[in-house]
């Protein structure tokens, strides 16, 4: 059986704060004033089997949190 990888979720710098955005979606699911709150919110997606990519303010990678594979 092929296991489909779930869409990655990104934490991206925005002028107004930090956005949590699923790849492929037009809009961010939520924008937070600070990065810590965005990271905390993203954990819900991680538990659902999504990789979380935390970006630095220049778009490069700060941390890549692999999904809990049991959840996939």
């Amino acid at each position: 059986m092929m296991i489909m990888e779930k869409t990655r979720v990104h934490i991206i710098k925005r002028e107004s704060g930090w956005a949590v955005k699923k790849e492929g979606n037009l809009k961010a699911s939520k924008i937070f004033d600070n990065k810590e709150d965005a990271k905390q919110h993203s954990q819900v997606y991680k538990l659902k089997g999504h990789d979380i990519i935390i970006h630095k303010k220049d778009g490069s990678i700060e941390r890549w949190e692999r999904a809990d594979k049991k959840a996939i």
Binding site: R8, H10, E23, I53, K57, D58, G59
Partner: protein
């Protein structure tokens, strides 16, 4: 060759490590909008005279982006940088004095970190329209995208979606490089021509997948 001229964008900006966090999104945006960035870092040949290379890039590009942020030193004993205003002057000189009529169509975007900072160092252009990026990659992308729009190019994606796509591109690029054994330092210091190849490949894959 003439066709390339109308798509080339001469990039005149600092080449230090600090500016790289703006340079990479800038190059991505130029390619994303359908143009070709031309930059002195695009080829490395110790035997090539730098000013000759700059002259060639200017003469081969109808568009130019000049980031004049470094006309002001940021710390004690640091020299301010004159290369960017000098190369801006060469580009402007090409437009004003070159007898070839095609250069009259040259278009420039002048951009800086702090609004109006350049006026103190380069008052000759104080009536020019200068954009400001505040040192933020997203703002830089929006300003560059909007400049292409103001030049009359249609159907451009929004600056915010280009910024998000840059983040998605960087994720794929990072993943690929790590799988090939590259360390963070290798990725951060990757030569610009190699980095440009990765952007072009990613954009062509994106284009193909959006056609399906």
């Amino acid at each position: 060759m003439e066709d390339q001229f109308s798509h080339n964008v001469f990039i005149n900006c600092p080449f230090d490590d600090e500016y790289r966090e703006l340079l990479c999104p800038l190059l991505f945006t130029v390619l994303y909008c359908g143009f070709t960035p031309r930059i002195a870092l695009e080829r490395f040949d110790s035997a090539e005279v730098r000013i000759e290379k700059i002259r060639q890039l200017i003469e081969e590009s109808v568009f130019s982006i000049h980031d004049l942020s470094k006309v002001k030193s940021s710390k004690k004993n640091e020299y301010y940088r004159l290369n960017m205003p000098f190369e801006f002057g060469l580009d402007l000189g090409c437009k004003l004095y070159n007898p070839d009529k095609k250069y009259k169509n040259k278009k420039s975007l002048i951009i800086e970190k702090e609004r109006y900072a350049y006026q103190k160092a380069l008052s000759d252009i104080s009536n020019s329209d200068v954009k400001c990026h505040k040192g933020e990659p997203e703002d830089l992308i929006i300003e560059v995208r909007n400049w292409f729009s103001e030049l009359g190019f249609k159907n451009l994606d929004s600056g915010s979606s280009i910024w998000d796509d840059y983040n998605f591109f960087y994720t794929d690029f990072y993943d690929e490089m790590v799988k090939k054994g590259f360390k963070d330092k290798d990725i951060q210091k990757m030569p610009i021509p190699e980095f440009l190849d990765h952007i072009e490949l990613w954009l062509s894959k994106k284009k193909k997948s959006s056609k399906k």
